[in-house]
């Protein structure tokens, strides 16, 4: 019985061969997913799942400030030790505040010492060591890290791969503000005409 069953199993599993042909056949007629690089460049829609060098995510209301809470989870999780975070220190109390604290202590009250803000002052990232494993992104409790979509990263010196992510975030925020302003300017009625002619020229070429 088992021999017949095995025989029948082998025969029915031939169907999987057809399934395989279907898969490659479908791919054969599908559109290319690659680009002819120097002639075409990657658009943001084609970058889904792409892992570029890390970057910080800004706060929604203050895009120049990172969501990072300097908890060091990314630093601990990183197997390549490529992230360096320096926590912000508590601000030094002024003379008057020190005096007030002293007085309060003498009165037997609970003293409120200034706390360190939960943010990094330095966030360095060495892309030359990073293996893009994503442990930092997964472990970040504040969801402050993501992969950038920097496809065309080229450098001539390894040192250039040591990135200051805070500076990068600041630059990005500035750029986005400038872009928004440009958009606003373009949307104003004066410029609509100019823009449409520009578009027409683009489609004609």
């Amino acid at each position: 019985m088992s021999v017949i069953k095995k025989f029948w199993d082998d025969v029915t599993s031939l169907w999987s061969l057809i399934v395989g042909l279907k898969v490659t056949g479908k791919n054969f007629v599908d559109k290319n997913v690659t680009l002819h690089y120097p002639r075409e460049t990657v658009t943001s829609g084609q970058l889904e799942g792409f892992r570029g060098p890390l970057e910080l995510i800004g706060k929604p209301k203050a895009p120049a400030k990172p969501k990072c809470i300097a908890c060091m989870m990314c630093v601990t999780a990183c197997p390549s030790k490529c992230i360096t975070v320096v926590k912000a220190k508590a601000p030094k109390p002024t003379e008057a505040e020190l005096q007030a604290m002293k007085e309060a202590e003498e009165r037997g009250e609970k003293v409120k010492k200034p706390k360190a803000p939960k943010e990094p002052v330095k966030f360095f990232y060495d892309f030359s060591l990073c293996s893009l494993c994503g442990s930092c992104v997964e472990n970040c409790p504040a969801k402050a890290l993501r992969y950038s979509s920097n496809v065309y990263l080229t450098v001539t010196d390894r040192k250039e791969l040591k990135m200051d992510l805070l500076a990068r975030l600041g630059a990005q925020a500035e750029a986005s503000i400038a872009e928004k302003e440009a958009q606003k300017a373009a949307e104003s009625p004066k410029n609509i005409e100019a823009e449409t002619t520009e578009k027409q020229a683009g489609t004609e070429s």
Binding site: L17, G20, L21, N27, V29, K31, N32, T34, H36
Partner: protein, 322 residues
């Protein structure tokens, strides 16, 4: 001036035409193979050399010819260089009895099918010599592997072809083609579907095509019999493989798919269309299936193809006798 026999002139023209056809087909198939591979993997394939990469196979050929011919030390020089020639030369002969069109047959002969099967076997000898002459243990192990495969797959191939010969009562390919009609349901493939499937699988094994490409897996299995061949030495094996592919597909088209007969009008175009469709299927299979293990390869042959081919032959003989 002595009279030159017409047959001889015709043979000479046929051989020259076949050599040109084989050379051209090598280029076309290399291009086709790479384009299909590209499209299956959703990339464009060769693209830069010439429009749509059309000149890529030519560039490959020039590179292959330009390479140094290297003979390994301690090897048998004569055998070593005889092997690629022996692998390529008989292939031209295989094209002679193939009926490309109603009149476009190199040499009409009653034992055409037998000639093809007999001379196709020479390839095994060439592989054997190549492995032995290389003075290289991977070479000889690869040759042993290739010979075991070729010998094994020859048997079901013969048996499935024999079933057709039983049916038509002839080994002449032209007669077999004429025995079928133009429309698909008049083709032998509908009377002998099992024979066709067995023939096609065995043909894949015979021509060392994926998923049975164990003799030539250069990156994974140290290539085997052609490890030591450089430049055109390897190129000859390569060309012979592509020529062999056309031969097996041509025989399949003639035996099973009605040859040059087609709906509405007959002609060599139908034949070439059928051959190229089969070649395309072969390439498609290559980029779909993973390579089989060697024991699997032999098991498929001895446990499945052989008994099925024998069964098919017996049934055919029984029905024909009735």
């Amino acid at each position: 001036m002595a009279q030159i026999p017409v047959e001889l002139v015709k043979l000479l023209i046929a051989l020259v035409a076949i050599a040109a056809f084989v050379g051209l087909n090598g280029l076309v198939l290399v291009y086709l193979e790479r384009k299909v591979a590209g499209f299956v993997q959703r990339r464009p394939g060769p693209y830069e050399v010439g429009p749509q990469g059309l000149l890529q196979p030519l560039a490959d050929a020039v590179k292959l010819i330009g390479k140094q011919l290297f003979t390994p030390s301690g090897s048998d020089k004569l055998l070593f260089w005889m092997a690629p020639i022996l692998s390529f030369m008989p292939v031209l002969l295989l094209f002679l009895p193939i009926p490309f069109g109603p009149v476009a047959t190199g040499m009409e002969m009653d034992l055409g099918l037998l000639l093809i099967l007999a001379f196709a076997g020479l390839n095994v000898l060439a592989i054997c010599l190549a492995g032995w002459g290389s003075n290289n243990k991977w070479g000889i192990l690869g040759a042993a592997r290739a010979v075991a495969q070729s010998v094994a797959y020859e048997i079901p191939l013969l048996l499935s072809v024999l079933a057709i010969a039983f049916m038509t009562g002839s080994l002449n390919l032209t007669t077999v083609v004429e025995g079928q009609g133009g429309w698909p349901w008049q083709w032998n493939v509908f009377l002998q579907p099992l024979a066709f499937i067995i023939y096609f699988i065995s043909a894949l094994g015979e021509t060392n095509r994926a998923p049975f490409d164990l003799p030539e897996a250069e990156s994974e299995l140290t290539a085997g019999f052609h490890t030591e061949y450089s430049g055109m030495g390897f190129g000859m094996f390569f060309l012979a493989e592509y020529a062999n592919m056309i031969v097996v597909c041509s025989v399949a088209a003639a035996l099973f798919l009605g040859g040059w007969q087609g709906p509405f009008f007959d002609g060599a175009w139908w034949f070439l269309a059928k051959v190229y469709t089969l070649l395309l299927v072969m390439i498609w299979l290559r980029w779909t299936y993973p390579r089989v293990r060697f024991d699997q390869l032999l098991n498929i042959n001895w446990k499945w193809l052989m008994p099925l081919a024998l069964l098919n032959l017996f049934i055919t003989a029984f029905v024909m006798k009735l």
